[in-house]
C-alpha cells in the first residue's frame, strides 16, 4: 500500500542523507521525497511517499523515529489528509496546437508561466494522479520536458504536525 509520511527534522547538514540512507540500507521503497525548511528555520519538513505492507510501514516509521535528527514522524495516510505536487511541463505549442494546448492547461487549472513562439511552460499542481492524467491527456510527442516536485502532504482540519 502507498503511504505518505511526514516528518519534522533538525535542519542540520546530513539530516537528509540519514533519511535517504535509512531507506536504501533497509531496502525500503521511496516513490518521492521532498524537503524544505519550515517557518522555524531550525527545522525542515519532509514528505516521503513510500509503499509496503503494514509491517514494513510500521518499521519505516519506527526506524525514522529512531534517527536522532528526526523530531516527529506522522503517517498521513492513517487519516484524512491533503497532498499536492507541483509539475512544470514544457510542451510544444506552435501553429494550430497553440490554442489547444492553452485549453488543455485551463481544463486542468494549469497556468502558462513561460512562452516562446514554439513552446509553453505550464505550471500545474494537484495530486500525483491529476498530474499523470494531464500528461496522458496530451497528444503524443508534445511534451518536451517535465519536472515534478514529488508530493507534499498535510493533515486535514485539526491534524497538525509541529513540536
Amino acid at each position: 500500500m502507498r503511504h505518505i509520511i511526514s516528518l519534522l527534522l533538525e535542519n542540520e547538514a546530513g539530516a537528509l542523507s540519514r533519511v535517504a540512507g535509512l531507506f536504501s540500507a533497509r531496502g525500503y521503497n521511496i516513490e518521492s521525497l521532498t524537503v524544505a525548511p519550515t517557518e522555524d528555520a531550525t527545522m525542515s519538513r519532509m514528505t516521503v511517499v513510500t509503499s509496503g505492507s503494514d509491517d514494513v510501514i510500521e518499521q519505516i516509521t519506527k526506524q525514522l523515529n529512531k534517527l536522532v535528527d528526526v523530531v516527529k514522524v506522522v503517517d498521513l495516510s492513517e487519516g484524512e489528509h491533503i497532498e499536492r505536487e507541483l509539475m512544470l511541463v514544457k510542451v510544444r505549442a506552435s501553429g494550430k496546437d497553440r490554442e489547444e494546448m492553452k485549453r488543455m492547461a485551463d481544463i486542468f487549472r494549469g497556468r502558462v508561466i513561460d512562452v516562446t513562439d514554439k513552446s509553453y511552460t505550464i505550471e500545474l499542481t494537484g495530486t500525483g494522479q491529476k498530474l499523470d492524467a494531464f500528461l496522458e491527456a496530451l497528444e503524443e510527442g508534445v511534451v518536451l520536458e517535465t519536472v515534478r516536485t514529488g508530493a507534499s502532504g498535510i493533515g486535514r482540519g485539526e491534524r497538525i504536525l509541529r513540536i
Binding site: L9, E10, A13, G14, S17, R18, G21, A25, D55, E58, Q59, K62, Q63, N65, K66, V68, D69, V70, V71, I163
Partner: protein, 566 residues
C-alpha cells in the same frame, strides 16, 4: 579563559570522567595528542591497530557499563576503526569515537588522509557529528556521551577538523544536554504491563527469553526476581549470557543456532513467551516462518520500539527501559492474587526435563586428543570462583565457550554476537582488564581469529595486561570447516590454516609466556600453571581435535526445532 579545541577535547573527556582513551595518533589529531601529553587525568592506551582501539574500548564498555572512548586520526585511522564501530553498533555498546579530520577549508578537496567520516560511519553509528565551530565542540562531545549511553546504547562519532583543534574559545563543559529530537521512552506502559502479566499467569507452557538488553540495561536482579517468582524456564541469547545465572535450575541454557535442545524446543513449543531485551534475530529463532507455525502469544519488552514486531509479530509490546519495566512487573505481580497454574507448569517442566535428558552437549570425554569442550569446562571449573571475564572471537570456540562456561553474572562474557567479528577476543580481554585491573581475563579463541589482532600482544606487554589466551587450535577455521562438512560435501575450500606460526615462540617474542598443550592429561595442569602466573600474559596453545563439530545446530534457514544433534 580561552582554550584551544584540542585542550577542550581533552578537558571534556576528563570532565566526563573518562579514565582510559584507546587510540592511535596521526596528523589530524596531533594537537589533541599534544594536550594529552600535558595532562594525567585521562590515560591513553596506545594500541597497535585502530580496529583494536575500538574493540578494546568496546570490551571495556561491555565489562564496565561505562562508555568506551576512542581517538583516531583522519582517513586510514577512521577506515581502520570501522570494523570496530560496526561491531559495537550491532551489539548496542555505548562508545564515543573521536576522529581527526582534515582542516575545514580542505574538506571536499580530496586532501591528504581525507575521508568522509560522517558519511562512511553513518550506517554503523547511533549518531555522528562533524564539528564546524570550536564553540560547538564541548556541547557536541556532551551530546555524544548522552546519546551513546541512553536509550538503546550505541557508538557515536565526533569528527573534529584539525583547524578546530587550534581555534580557541571559552570552555565550559555542559552538565547536561537535552535534544528535542531524542527522548527515549524509559517507563513502560503500566496497562500493557498488566496485560503482559495476565497472559503470563494464564500460560500453560511459558517461556522467558532474554538478550543483551538485560546486560546493557543492568536488569539481571529484576529478571531473576521475576523468573523465580513465576517459576518459569528461562533462556538467554548469546549476547544475554550472564543475564540470568547459568547455574540456576530454571535456566535452560543458551538458545539459537547452537543453543541447547531444551531451550530451543521450549522456545518453539511454548504458548506464552516473554521476550526481554532481545530481538528475535536469525541466529536466535532461525526461520521466522517456521517459528510462526506454532501458536503462541508474545510479550516483548525493549527500549527500542523498532526491535518490536520487526521479525516476529508481537501481541503485547512494551517499550521501555528493561530494568524499569521488570521492576514494575515485579511490583504488579506481587500485588496480584492470581498465581501460575501449578498443574500445567509442572507438566511443562516434566516435558522440559525429557528434552534435557537428551543431553545435547555430550562429547567424548575419553578421547585421546584434546576436546575443545573439555578445555572450556576445565577453565570454568578453575576460574568460576575468581572474578573472571571471558572474551571470545568468532567460530566454534566461541560457541563452545558460550555452551560450556556457566556465566552467573552479567558483563562477564564479551563477544561479538551481532556482527560476528573475528579479532575482537584479545582487545576485549584487554578492555576487561583495564576496567577491572584485578580480574582474571581469559580470551578463548581460535588460531584463525587470534591472528586478526595478534599485534595487540605488544600493547599487552606495554601496559602489563596479563590476559590468559586459550587458543583452541584445530588448524582449521573450524566453523567454516563445519559448514563445509555439513553443507558443501566436505570440500574444505580455503579453511585449512596452513603455515601457522609457532604460537609459543610468538608469545615469547612479544615478551610473554607461551605454552603448547597436546595431551588431554595436561590440560588442567597447564591451565592451573597459567592462571597462577597472575601478572603475566600466557598464551596457551591447545592442540585440539581437528574434526570436532558444534552441536546442536539449527542449519541456516531452518526452524528452531529442526536441530542437528550429536
Amino acid at each position: 579563559m580561552e582554550l584551544s579545541g584540542a585542550e577542550i577535547t581533552v578537558r571534556c573527556l576528563a570532565d566526563e570522567g573518562v579514565e582510559h582513551l584507546f587510540g592511535y595518533p596521526g596528523g589530524a589529531v596531533l594537537h589533541i595528542y599534544d594536550e594529552l601529553f600535558k595532562q594525567d587525568r585521562v590515560q591513553h592506551i596506545l594500541v597497535r591497530h585502530e580496529q583494536a582501539a575500538v574493540h578494546a574500548a568496546d570490551g571495556y564498555a561491555r565489562a564496565s557499563q561505562k562508555p568506551g572512548v576512542v581517538l583516531v586520526t583522519s582517513g586510514p585511522g577512521v577506515t581502520n576503526a570501522i570494523t570496530g564501530i560496526a561491531t559495537a553498533y550491532m551489539d548496542s555498546v555505548p562508545m564515543v569515537i573521536v576522529t581527526g579530520q582534515v582542516p575545514t577549508h580542505a574538506i571536499g578537496q580530496d586532501a591528504f588522509q581525507e575521508v568522509d567520516t560522517v558519511g562512511i560511519t553513518r550506517p554503523c553509528v547511533k549518531h555522528n557529528f562533524l564539528v564546524k565551530d570550536v564553540r560547538d565542540l564541548a556541547t557536541t562531545i556532551k551530546k555524544a556521551f548522552f546519546i551513546a549511553t541512553t536509550g538503546r546504547p550505541g557508538p557515536v562519532v565526533v569528527d573534529i577538523p584539525k583547524d578546530i583543534t587550534t581555534a580557541r574559545c571559552e570552555y565550559e563543559y555542559p552538565k547536561s544536554v537535552s535534544l528535542r529530537s531524542y527522548n527515549p521512552v524509559l517507563k513502560g506502559h503500566s496497562g500493557q504491563i498488566r496485560k503482559a502479566l495476565q497472559l503470563l499467569l494464564e500460560a500453560k507452557r511459558p517461556m522467558i527469553y532474554t538478550g543483551g538488553g538485560i546486560v546493557l540495561g543492568e536488569a539481571a536482579a529484576e529478571l531473576a526476581q521475576l523468573v523465580r517468582a513465576l517459576g518459569y524456564p528461562c533462556t538467554n541469547t548469546l549476547m544475554g549470557l550472564g543475564g540470568y545465572p547459568a547455574t540456576d535450575p530454571q535456566f535452560l541454557g543458551m538458545l539459537g543456532m547452537h543453543g541447547t535442545y531444551e531451550a530451543n524446543m521450549a522456545m518453539q513449543h511454548c504458548d506464552v513467551l516473554l521476550a526481554v531485551g532481545a530481538r528475535f534475530d536469525d541466529r536466535v529463532i532461525g526461520n521466522p516462518k517456521h517459528f510462526a507455525t506454532e501458536e503462541r502469544r508474545i510479550v516483548h519488552v525493549d527500549v527500542d520500539p523498532s526491535s518490536i514486531s520487526k521479525r516476529v509479530k508481537v501481541d503485547v509490546p512494551i517499550v521501555g527501559d528493561v530494568r524499569e519495566v521488570l521492576a514494575e512487573m515485579n511490583r504488579q505481580l506481587a500485588a496480584l492474587p492470581a498465581k501460575p497454574d501449578p498443574g500445567a507448569i509442572k507438566a511443562w517442566w516434566t516435558q522440559i526435563e525429557l528434552w534435557k535428558a537428551r543431553d545435547c552437549l555430550k562429547y567424548d570425554r575419553e578421547a585421546k586428543v584434546i576436546k575443545p569442550q573439555a578445555v572450556v569446562s576445565k577453565l570454568y571449573e578453575l576460574t568460576r570462583d575468581a572474578d573472571t571475564y571471558v572474551s571470545s572471537d568468532v567460530g566454534q570456540h566461541q560457541m563452545w565457550a558460550a555452551q560450556f562456561y556457566k556465566f552467573d553474572k552479567p558483563r562477564r562474557w564479551l563477544n561479538s554476537g551481532g556482527l560476528g567479528t573475528m579479532g575482537v577476543g584479545l582487545p576485549y580481554a584487554m578492555g576487561a582488564l583495564l576496567a577491572h585491573p584485578d580480574c582474571t581475563s581469559v580470551c578463548v579463541t581460535g588460531e584463525a581469529s587470534i591472528q586478526m589482532c595478534i599485534q595487540e600482544l605488544s600493547t599487552c606487554k606495554q601496559y602489563r595486561l596479563p590476559v590468559k589466551i586459550v587458543n583452541l587450535n584445530n588448524r582449521y577455521m573450524g566453523m567454516v570447516r563445519q559448514w563445509q562438512e555439513f553443507f558443501h560435501g566436505n570440500r574444505y575450500a580455503e579453511s585449512y590454516m596452513d603455515a601457522l606460526p609457532d604460537f609459543v615462540k610468538l608469545a615469547e617474542s612479544y615478551g610473554h609466556v607461551g605454552m603448547r598443550i597436546e595431551n588431554p592429561g595436561d590440560v588442567e595442569g597447564a591451565l592451573r600453571e597459567a592462571l597462577a602466573l597472575k601478572d603475566r600474559l600466557v598464551f596457551m596453545d591447545f592442540i585440539t581435535d581437528q574434526t570436532e563439530n558444534v552441536f546442536p545446530m539449527v542449519p541456516g534457514g531452518k526452524g528452531l526445532s529442526e536441530m542437528i544433534l550429536v
